[in-house]
């Protein structure tokens, strides 16, 4: 085999190998995308479930049992004290108001799968005129921020996607 033929053969091998590795790479990434989409469906359902529960809770510990805060926002729980109100609120079933979620992280196993998802919550008062602005003092609007990601199996290579959702709850009354 002449040198030219040899070089041509080697070049053909290199091109073929490149094409094959690209094809397998595309296959792998498509599979990852499908799997990631499934994870996000699971994450979405878990997050929706938490938000549904949160929507069914009172605005504040004080508004759950009294109406003293109707005209006085300062009667509401202070911004730096948002969170579970006592030892009886150590699980979601015991939560009475939306800010009980503040600062907590839960890990849930998705039904029918061994995948686990971690959910982190943060509750803040926000400016009623600009719900993107967190308020250091009490207002009549709270925002629950939630982020959820797959914790098991741990992500390989690139970091796993994190799903973020928010829920705004206001405390208003109509006379």
């Amino acid at each position: 085999m002449s040198t030219n033929n040899m070089l041509l053969s080697i070049g053909a091998f290199v091109i073929l190998t490149t094409i094959l590795s690209n094809v397998y790479g595309i296959l792998g990434s498509t599979g990852d995308n499908i799997s990631e989409a499934q994870d996000m469906i699971l994450a979405n359902t878990i997050a929706s479930s938490y938000l549904e529960i949160a929507q069914g809770l009172a605005f504040d510990h004080i508004t759950d049992t009294s109406d003293v805060a109707i005209a006085n926002a300062m009667a509401l729980t202070a911004a730096d004290l948002l969170g579970p109100d006592g030892s009886d609120e150590d699980s979601i079933a015991g939560f009475t108001d939306i800010d009980d979620f503040n600062g907590l992280t839960f890990e849930t196993t998705a039904t029918g799968s061994d995948k686990r998802f971690k959910t982190e919550f943060k509750v803040s008062y926000v400016d009623p005129n600009n719900i993107d602005a967190i308020s250091a003092t009490q207002t009549f609007v709270k925002r629950l921020d939630l982020k959820i990601w797959r914790s098991f199996p741990p992500p390989e290579g690139l970091a796993t996607d994190t799903l973020r959702m928010s829920h705004i709850m206001g405390y208003f009354h109509f006379d």
């Binding site: 498509t30 599979g31 499908i34 359902t45 529960i53 929507q55 039904t111």
Partner: protein, 204 residues
């Protein structure tokens, strides 16, 4: 002699390359059909879930306060009130699953239609599922036995829905038996969803 050896070597290498390419091609088409099946199932699931979530959220809307919004509650069958056309008269909405024999044209032995019926109008299939289970919980998150006793319908605080959709057609393997709630050898692209919906309007 050298020329013959060159030819032989070329033929062997060419054949090996051809095999590699054919193998890659087969793998690509096989994976493509698996991925298409997975995507199809995800889309079917999400479509049905969106429909259900949207309507369950409105459960009890426009229903007089002293009237119970849920009329019947079983594991795969629920009937509730909701003023769907905002005419001041609550409508009866029913969700229920059919039986697998209603879909004889599909390979999957477990898939069945999910129906929605408004008042006494004809039922409409809104999706195809392999499992559709509802659990009813009290305010304290305690499950209520199903079918829910009519006297306890007012205790329902939230509804937990578990839905599974499998590909109607086999993608990998053959002759296996799909088991509910599991990925089977035959239908590799099965999916499920669980959500808990608590409608404010349903609480009376």
């Amino acid at each position: 002699m050298q020329l013959i050896l060159d030819y032989l070597g070329s033929v062997i290498i060419g054949a090996a390359l051809l095999l590699v390419v054919l193998n890659a091609n087969e793998m690509v088409s096989e994976n493509q059909s698996v991925y298409n099946g997975d995507m199809l199932v995800q889309e079917m699931l999400v479509e049905s879930a969106h429909f259900i979530e949207g309507e369950f959220r409105n459960m009890g809307l426009g229903v007089p306060e002293r009237q119970c919004a849920i009329l019947y509650a079983d594991s795969g069958n629920i009937r509730f009130l909701y003023d769907i056309d905002r005419n001041g008269v609550p409508d009866s909405i029913r969700y229920f699953v059919g039986v697998p024999s209603e879909l004889p044209g599909t390979q999957n032995e477990l898939d069945r239609p999910l129906y929605r019926q408004v008042n006494s109008e004809p039922r409409h299939a809104i999706g195809v599922v392999t499992s559709f289970q509802m659990r009813y919980l009290t305010r304290s998150a305690v499950g209520i036995p199903r079918p829910v006793d009519p006297a306890r319908l007012g205790e329902i605080h939230s509804v937990e829905i578990t839905m599974e959709v499998q590909n109607p057609y086999a993608i990998i393997g053959s002759g296996g038996v799909a088991k509910e709630g599991q990925r089977s050898e035959l239908y590799s692209s099965s999916l499920w969803q669980q959500t808990r919906l608590a409608s404010w309007n349903s609480r009376r």
